[in-house]
Amino acid sequence: MSGPAGAGGPVPPGVPPTGGRRGLAAALTPDPAGGPVGVPPTGGRRGLAAALTIDRRWLFLAMGLAIVVPLVVPLGLPTEASAPVKANFYAVEDLPEGATVLVSVDLDPASTPEVEPYFHASVRHLKKRGAKLVFVTLWYQAPPLVDRWIAKTVEQATFPGDRPYKRNVDYVWLGFREGKQAVMANMGQDLWATFAGHAADGTALADIPMMAGVHRLSDFALLVLVSAGFPGAKEYVQQVQARYGLRIVAACTAVSTTDLSPYYASGQLLGLAGGMGATAEYEVLVSRLVGLDPKRGNGAMALDALNIGHVVVILAIVLGNVAYFVGRRKR
């Protein structure tokens, strides 16, 4: 093993480099700041175990490249929708023309890469079905995001044959209410009272024609939940789905997928897009439907980064275990 690049001559076996920690040789030795991330070899630095004692910064670099490079140079692997995503798609397709749909956007900026593609795709899909849209959020971090997403996808024509939706005519943005499950339960009983009879811009709901027949959650043909955690899709199911027999589809972050999977299996969620992969699958389905290029969507483009990122994690697990078993045998 050679010494640190640019630090002079070779380093004797067993002696950690004392100069700069640049280069592969330095990277394959223990990190004085954070310690080695592999198994510390008991003997000399020769052998597989020592070679697998990788400085964590190389892992960080590999992960960074795995995320950035595919975004610049897309792989374009074919995407096929899974059963819960197809179920989500067909739940929207089954909507009658001009139905009123509630879209609850419960997220923060951190979760946007995972669920934002779903929001835009589902809004396009709902517009394609001619649906009237009512937006709410139960997360205080969400309103600025919802405002601009509405301006981007709802108020603009974004696919051939689309038209800009007009505020308080084709869609209503009710805004944020604090209270978590209490708000959900209240919306189930009286949506108007929950939002004090006004939309987010101050317009009285009584003055908005599309709200005439919409007084509680059961008046919606479908609930679309863009959910990044608590309160979110799980709480909607627990608080109002079974009680009022609501039709719900949801998108969630990858870590929440296993939480929501039982509700999809029981039919309480008609469809489920869990994580970046699934939201990209939904985006591809909708893009094909509305005549957009499926490969140009944000979700589809991020899928390559997800692919390679997963490969890095799997390789890290495999390398870590090889190092572990080799080190254990030596000891």
């Binding site: 991330v37 592999g38 990788i54 964590r56 892992l59 960080f60 590999a62 992960m63 960074g64 995320i67 692997l77 074919p78 995407t79 096929e80 899974s82 923060d108 900026p109 951190a110 979760s111 946007t112 971090q141 309103p143 600025p144 405002d147 601009r148 209410r177 604090e178 209270g179 978590k180 209490a182 708000v183 339960a185 209240n186 009983q189 009286d190 009272a193 009680r243 997928t257 296993t258 939480d259 999977s261 039982p262 299996a265 994580g275 992969g277 899928l303 997800l306 692919n307 990122g309 997963h310 490969v311 890095v312 994690v313 799997i314 890290a316 697990i317 390398l319 870590g320 275990n321 572990y324």
Partner: protein, 290 residues
């Protein structure tokens, strides 16, 4: 009474919420609605308590220069700035100024004058037409950046008339205002996203250091995790259609079985705790003296 009143309130509120589910009478529903509204008001009021608590906890630390006091200054100052930015100061001066519409002889057209260089103008129902045909038009003027007022005027253009719409787009305050939006876009959102993005690097490091097949259970978990990861991305499907099928099976069968057991156990526990609270057997939420 200090102990009895909270217990009575808890009993009545809990009983009403429970009975309402099984008694579909209108008075029960309105009672439940009142309780839910009260819960929402209390939840909102908790923010005020939270703010007071933040000051109570951090002010003494700052005053006495205890460990990490500069971070406390940042915390309190950030909270104060966001609080001030969230107030709709522009509404204190009354309603926003409507656009002024004047008509004069000239070519048949609409002229829009705004007090901002980056103003965007929309004409409806026609697309952007200048000059226009005689008729009624709705002119919307808004700033390119978020956080400024949007204004709208309906104008009637007669033949041989130039109608001038003079629009004022003042900076807004409050949750949709410029300062709040700027802080959200340039401080909160990047910080929030950065914290979450670090997870990718943390996972990579943890996968190498900690995810070891030390025993049979850990090996099982490890194998399931790898199969789920491979099966959930297009790469796995490209390698073999078996990967997504295996991932689906793991999520649908063993995962759902385990999740259901946990959820039902938690639900039974919640029911038992709720009953204890309603009946006054559980008093820990009332404080140490109860």
């Amino acid at each position: 009474m200090k102990k009895q009143l909270p217990l009575i309130l808890g009993f009545v509120a809990g009983l009403l919420a429970f009975v309402e589910r099984y008694v579909p009478a209108a008075p029960m529903r309105s009672m439940q609605s009142f309780l839910l509204n009260a819960a929402m008001v209390l939840a909102a009021a908790a923010f005020i308590l939270g703010a007071v608590n933040v000051i109570q906890v951090n002010a003494p630390i700052i005053a006495r220069r205890r460990e990490d006091w500069p971070y406390k200054v940042v915390l309190v100052a950030s909270a104060l700035i966001m609080f001030l930015a969230g107030i709709k100061w522009d509404r204190l001066g009354g309603a926003p100024r409507p656009p002024a519409v004047t008509a004069a002889a000239g070519d048949t057209s609409i002229e829009v004058v705004a007090d901002r260089d980056d103003a965007l103008v929309w004409f409806a129902p026609a697309p952007l037409v200048r000059p226009v045909a005689p008729g009624t038009y709705t002119v919307t003027v808004r700033a390119l950046r978020a956080g400024y007022a949007e204004t709208q005027a309906t104008v009637d253009v007669k033949p041989g008339q130039r109608v001038t719409v003079r629009a004022w787009l003042p900076m807004l305050w409050g949750p949709t205002g410029r300062v709040f939006t700027w802080l959200y876009d340039h401080v909160f959102a990047p910080s929030n996203a950065t914290m979450f993005a670090l997870l990718a690097f943390f996972i990579a490091s943890a996968a190498f250091r900690a995810f070891r097949a030390r025993n049979a259970e850990a090996a099982l978990l490890l194998g399931a995790a790898i199969l789920i990861m491979v099966g959930r991305v297009p790469l796995g499907r490209a390698l073999s259609p078996a990967f997504p099928a295996i991932a689906d099976w793991i999520v649908d069968i063993p995962n759902n079985a385990g999740r259901r057991a946990i959820m039902m156990g938690a639900a039974l526990g919640a029911i038992a705790t709720s009953l204890r609270v309603i009946l006054g057997l559980e008093r820990s939420h009332l404080g140490r003296d109860a």
